[in-house]
C-alpha cells in the first residue's frame, strides 16, 4: 500500500515496498497495477459492471471528468475490454470492447488531454479526459490497447505498462518531485535543519581556523566587559578618594583592555575575511560545477541571468549568514550571558528593569520576519529580471543596433530596474524601520533604568552608588547590543532561507544521470537503434511519437523533414541532453543510459547550425575537449575542416583570440572551426544539425568537402534542409510531426514517391527556377 505520509527517516525497505504497483487490494483474486488507489464506490461499480470471471489487468486514475471539471475518472482495462468510469457519464460508466477498436490515442489539448478511440469506420469516441499530470500513464495505456488490439502478447505488453507505471513511482508521493532513482529520499521534503546541515558542510574544512576566530572573539568580548566595571571603580572608589595611584592603575588596565580588544580584533577580522572568502569560493565552485552538469531541461526553464545571480549573489548571502551563525551568534550569546550574570551580580532589581523591552523586541522580530520575506523575494525576482535583460541584450547588441532598438532596449532596462528600485525601497522601509523601532525600545529601557536607578541613587545611596548606576547603564547598553543582534538575526535568516532555496534549486536539481559511472566499452562501433521512443519537452505537445529505426555502423543517414518535425530532437536525445523519454535508445546494442556519460559523449562529434565559440584563441577553440592534442593534430584537424588556409592568413594565426561567441569570424569560418573541433575528437558517431544552413553556396561547398572527408568510416547522422547536401547518404529518414514517415535508401524512397520524393521534386524545381533566373539575368 502506498502511504502518503512519510518521514525523512523512512526505511529503504519500506520505500521499496511503497514503490510497488500493488496500491490496490486484488480484484476478484487478481493483483492489478494502478497509478492510484480505487475508491470503494469505483470497485463496487466495477463489480456490478464487469462480467463474471472478468478480472482487471490495470487501471489508470485521471483527474478530470469529460466536461473538463476536476473530478476522478478511471480507465479500467480487462482481458475483454475497456471501461471508463466518470460520474458525469450515464450510470457512471462507459465501455469499449477490443473488437472493432482500430486505434487508441491521447490527444493533448491545452491543460488537458483526451483518450480517444477510433473504430473501423473512423468514428471517434472521446473516452476520458485528464490533465497533463496523468497524461504519461494514459499514453502508456493507449500504447497497450493498440498493441493488444493488434494481436500482441497481452502479458508482455502488461510488463511494458508496468514499467511506465513504475516511472510514476519515481516521483515523491509527498511533493511530486522526480526522484534521482525509485525510492530515493526526496530533497524537497527534507527538513530545514538538513538544508542548513547541507550548506554547513562548506564550513567543516575551516573548522580549525573558525574555532581560533571564535576563541579570539571570546577574548575580545571578555575584555570588552572590563571598561564598564573600571568606570564603577573610578566613579565610586578612585575619584572620590583622590587615589592617583589607583587612577593610574585603572588607566593602565583600560589601555591593556583596549589594546587586546583592538589588536586581537584586527587579527580575527583578517582570519574571518580570508575564511569567508574561501567558503564563498567553495560554494561558487560547487554551484558552478553542478550548473555544468544539470539537465538541459533545467536551462530550458531557467533564465541565464537567474543562474548567474545565484552563483554570484546568493552564495555571498549564504556565506555571510553562515559566518554570522558560526561566529557572531556564539560571541553575542557569550556577551549576552556574561552581561546578564554581571548585571544580576550588581543589582538584580535593575536587571529585571533592563529586561522589560526584551519581549517586545522578540515579538517584533517574528512579525518583521514574516513581513520582510516576500519583499526580499520580490526584490530578487526583479533583480533577476534586470540581469536577464542584460544577459539577453548585451550579447545581442549587434541585432539591437541593426534594428536601431537601442532606445527601446534602454527603456526596457530602465523599466525593469525601476521595478526593482520600487520593491527595494519597500524592503528598505521595513528593514530600516525595524532596527530603529528596536533601538527606540531599548533606549526606553535605558531611560527606565536612569529614572528608577537615579531615584535610588538620590533617595537610597546606601542601596546603589552613582558609580554602580553609571556602570550598570554601560552594561545595559551593551546588553541591548546582543538583543538587537538576535532580533535582527531573523532578517538575515529570512534572507538566507531565500538564497538557500534558490541555491538548493541548483544543488538539488537532478544532474544528468550517471555522469560518472556506467558501462565503458573500449570503442563504439556506431550501431544506433531507437526503440519505441516517445518524448515531449513539456507535457503540452509530444515531440517524438513511437520512433523506431536502426542505423548500422558506418551508415550515412540523412534526416529530413519540415521545421519542427522533430529532427533535432532525435539528435538531442542521442546526445543524451534529455533522458526523460519513453522507450530505449541503444548504441552498439547497449542502452545509452547505461553507458558512462563522459565516455559516451567523447565518442560523439556534434556540429550544430550555430557553432558556439569561446572567448579564447582559435587553437584553444579547436582543441576544446582534447587537451592532449598535439599542434600537428590541431593543424591536421583544421586542414580536414578546410579551416587551415583561412587561419594561416590571419595575422595572429592560431593565436587569434576570438571575441565572445566567435566574433571576428564569418559564419562559415566559425562553422569550419566547429568541424575541426569535431574532427580532432575522432568520434565514432558524427551528428550534423543543419551544418551548412546559414552559409553561402561557396562556403557550403567548402564545408561539404570537409564533411565528406570527415565522415568516412563513421556512422553519420545529418540533418539537412537542402537535400543536395545529403548526396553521400545511404539511408534517409523522413520525419514528420514527431513520427518516422519513411525510411530507406534514397533510391527506395524515390521509387516509393512519398514525402521524400515530393521534397526532392520541390527542391529540384526551385533549383531549376533559380538557375533559369540566374541565366536570364546573365
Amino acid at each position: 500500500m502506498i502511504k502518503t505520509d512519510r518521514t525523512d527517516e523512512t526505511d529503504p525497505a519500506q520505500l521499496r515496498e511503497e514503490a510497488s504497483l500493488t496500491v490496490n487490494e486484488p480484484f476478484r483474486g487478481r493483483q492489478f497495477a494502478a497509478n492510484k488507489k480505487l475508491t470503494v464506490e469505483e470497485r463496487t461499480l466495477l463489480e456490478s459492471t464487469l462480467a463474471e470471471e472478468e478480472s482487471l489487468l490495470f487501471a489508470v486514475v485521471g483527474d478530470l471528468n469529460i466536461r473538463n471539471h476536476y473530478a476522478r475518472s478511471v480507465l479500467v482495462v480487462t482481458e475483454k475490454g475497456l471501461y471508463g468510469l466518470d460520474a458525469s457519464f450515464e450510470n457512471g460508466v462507459r465501455t469499449q470492447s477490443f473488437d472493432g477498436l482500430k486505434r487508441a490515442f491521447v490527444k493533448r489539448c491545452y491543460g488537458n488531454a483526451l483518450l480517444i478511440f477510433t473504430d473501423d469506420a473512423d468514428n471517434r469516441t472521446n473516452f476520458l479526459r485528464f490533465s497533463y499530470k496523468e497524461a504519461p500513464v494514459f499514453d502508456a495505456a493507449a500504447t497497450f490497447i493498440n498493441r493488444v488490439a493488434s494481436g500482441n502478447d497481452r502479458e508482455e505488453e502488461l510488463r511494458t505498462i508496468e514499467s511506465s507505471f513504475e516511472k510514476q513511482f519515481r516521483v515523491c508521493p509527498k511533493c511530486g518531485r522526480t526522484l534521482i532513482r525509485p525510492g530515493a529520499p526526496c530533497m524537497n521534503c527534507q527538513s530545514k535543519d538538513k538544508v542548513i546541515g547541507k550548506l554547513g558542510r562548506y564550513i567543516l574544512p575551516y573548522k580549525g581556523i573558525l574555532a581560533i576566530c571564535l576563541l579570539l572573539a571570546v577574548v575580545t568580548t571578555a575584555v570588552s566587559l572590563v571598561p564598564p566595571y573600571m568606570t564603577k571603580v573610578l566613579v565610586d572608589s578612585v575619584l572620590p578618594n583622590g587615589d592617583k595611584n589607583g587612577l593610574l592603575q585603572c588607566v593602565i588596565v583600560l589601555l591593556v583592555a583596549h589594546l587586546i580588544h583592538y589588536g586581537v580584533g584586527a587579527v580575527r577580522s583578517h582570519f574571518m575575511r580570508v575564511t569567508g572568502d574561501r567558503i564563498m569560493t567553495d560554494i561558487r565552485n560547487d554551484v558552478y560545477e553542478k550548473a555544468q552538469k544539470l539537465q538541459m531541461r533545467f536551462y530550458d526553464r531557467t533564465s541565464t541571468g537567474s543562474v548567474i545571480n545565484r552563483i554570484s549573489g546568493d552564495s555571498q548571502t549564504i556565506n555571510a549568514f553562515m559566518m554570522r551563525v558560526t561566529q557572531e551568534v556564539v560571541v553575542q550569546l557569550f556577551l549576552l550571558m556574561g552581561i546578564i550574570v554581571i548585571m544580576f551580580a550588581m543589582n538584580w532589581q535593575m536587571t529585571l528593569l533592563a529586561l522589560v523591552p526584551v519581549p517586545f523586541v522578540v515579538m517584533g522580530s517574528r512579525i518583521f520576519g514574516k513581513k520582510v520575506r516576500p519583499y526580499y523575494r520580490r526584490s530578487w525576482r526583479y533583480w533577476s529580471a534586470v540581469t536577464s535583460i542584460m544577459t539577453d541584450t548585451i550579447p545581442g547588441i549587434r541585432v539591437i543596433k541593426a534594428f536601431a532598438r537601442e532606445n527601446r532596449s534602454v527603456d526596457k532596462f530602465k523599466k525593469a530596474n525601476n521595478f526593482w528600485l520600487q520593491t527595494d525601497i519597500k524592503v528598505s522601509r521595513i528593514v530600516t524601520l525595524f532596527p530603529n523601532v528596536v533601538g527606540f525600545a531599548v533606549t526606553c529601557g535605558s531611560l527606565l533604568i536612569w529614572s528608577v536607578g537615579g531615584n535610588w541613587v538620590i533617595e537610597k545611596p546606601e542601596f546603589i552608588s552613582a558609580g554602580l548606576l553609571v556602570s550598570f547603564i554601560s552594561y545595559a547598553s551593551m546588553f541591548y547590543g546582543p538583543v538587537n543582534f538576535f532580533a535582527n538575526l531573523n532578517d538575515s535568516y529570512q534572507n538566507f532561507l531565500n538564497a538557500a532555496e534558490r541555491l538548493m534549486d541548483i544543488i538539488d536539481a537532478e544532474p544528468e544521470n550517471d555522469f560518472s559511472g556506467g558501462k565503458h566499452p573500449e570503442k563504439l562501433h556506431g550501431k544506433i537503434e531507437f526503440r519505441n521512443v516517445n518524448f515531449s519537452f513539456d507535457r503540452a505537445k509530444k515531440t517524438l511519437t513511437n520512433v523506431n529505426f536502426v542505423i548500422e555502423p558506418g551508415d550515412i543517414v540523412g534526416i529530413v523533414g519540415t521545421t519542427g518535425a522533430g529532427k533535432s530532437t532525435i539528435i538531442n536525445l542521442l546526445m543524451r541532453y534529455y533522458d526523460q523519454y519513453d522507450g530505449e535508445i541503444l548504441v552498439d546494442d547497449i542502452n545509452i543510459r547505461d553507458i558512462d556519460m563522459t565516455f559516451y559523449r567523447s565518442e560523439l562529434g556534434y556540429v550544430q547550425q550555430e557553432p558556439m565559440m569561446f572567448h579564447e584563441t582559435i587553437y584553444q577553440n579547436i582543441a576544446y575537449g582534447c587537451e592532449n592534442a598535439t599542434v600537428e593534430d590541431v593543424i591536421h584537424a583544421a586542414d580536414v575542416a578546410n579551416a587551415h588556409s583561412f587561419i594561416a592568413r590571419l595575422p595572429d594565426g592560431y593565436d587569434t583570440v576570438l571575441g565572445e561567441r566567435g566574433v571576428g569570424l564569418s559564419g562559415g569560418e566559425r562553422q569550419r572551426l566547429s568541424i575541426a573541433r569535431a574532427v580532432l575528437k575522432n568520434p565514432s558517431i558524427l551528428l550534423f544539425d543543419e551544418a551548412t544552413a546559414s552559409v553561402d553556396s561557396e562556403t557550403e561547398h567548402q564545408i561539404q568537402e570537409a564533411i565528406e572527408q570527415m565522415i568516412q568510416g563513421r556512422t553519420t547522422l545529418m540533418i539537412a534542409h537542402r537535400l543536395s547536401t545529403l548526396r553521400k547518404a545511404n539511408k534517409i529518414i523522413v520525419v514528420d510531426k514527431g513520427k518516422i514517415l519513411e525510411m530507406g535508401t534514397p533510391e527506395e524512397l524515390m521509387e516509393k514517391k512519398g514525402k521524400y520524393y515530393k521534397l526532392i521534386q520541390i527542391q529540384t524545381m526551385s533549383a531549376e527556377i533559380q538557375k533559369t533566373k540566374e541565366e536570364e539575368r546573365l
Binding site: H69, Y110, G111, Y132, D505
Partner: protein, 161 residues
C-alpha cells in the same frame, strides 16, 4: 497563399466533434474538420482564432469572436472551451512552501484544485492585474483580476508575486 480572415457573417460553422468544426465560406469554400485554436491563448482568447486542419495547417483565421453572429460564435466558443483548460482561480484556501515547491489549495471555476508550482519564477506571471500560473506538469491556471480576489486570497498570493 493569402491568409483568409473571417469576419462577421462570411462563414458558417458546423460542429463536427468536441473540438472541431466544418466551415463553409460565403464563396463556397469548405474546410472540413478544422480545429479552432487561439493564437494568443494567454493574452487574448477572443481575437485571432486560427482554424487548423487535421495536418495542423492553417486554413483561415477568425479575426474576432465578437464580430461573429451569436450562434456561430457559440459554436467556436464551445470548441475552445473543450480544447482549453485554464481554470479561473476564485479563492486561495491555503498555501504551503518548502524549498521551492509551492502548493496552493484553491477553488476554481472547474472545482477545487491543488496547484503545485516547482519554480517560482516560471510558475507565476503577472500581467497587470492578471495572474497566470503554470504548475510542474504544465497545466495552466489564471486569476483574471487580482483586485477581485478576497483579502485572504490576495494576502496568501502576495507571498509569491
Amino acid at each position: 497563399m493569402e491568409r483568409i480572415y473571417i469576419d462577421g457573417h462570411m462563414a458558417k460553422f458546423t460542429r463536427k466533434d468536441i473540438t472541431t468544426v466544418d466551415v463553409q465560406l460565403q464563396d463556397g469554400t469548405i474546410f472540413q474538420n478544422v480545429e479552432p485554436r487561439c493564437l494568443f491563448p494567454s493574452s487574448d482568447g477572443r481575437n485571432f482564432i486560427t482554424l487548423l486542419d487535421e495536418n495542423g495547417i492553417e486554413q483561415a483565421v477568425i479575426r474576432s469572436l465578437d464580430t461573429l453572429p451569436a450562434e456561430q460564435r457559440e459554436i467556436i466558443e464551445g470548441c475552445l472551451a473543450e480544447y482549453y483548460l485554464i481554470p479561473r482561480i476564485t479563492k486561495i484556501l491555503n498555501t504551503t512552501e518548502k524549498f521551492g515547491l509551492i502548493t496552493l489549495d484553491t477553488e476554481t471555476d472547474r472545482g477545487p484544485a491543488r496547484i503545485e508550482i516547482r519554480n517560482l519564477l516560471y510558475g507565476f506571471k503577472q500581467v497587470g492585474n492578471r495572474l497566470l500560473l503554470r504548475d510542474g506538469n504544465d497545466n495552466r491556471y489564471e486569476v483574471p483580476d487580482l483586485t477581485k480576489l478576497d483579502a485572504k486570497s490576495r494576502h496568501l498570493l502576495d507571498n509569491f508575486i
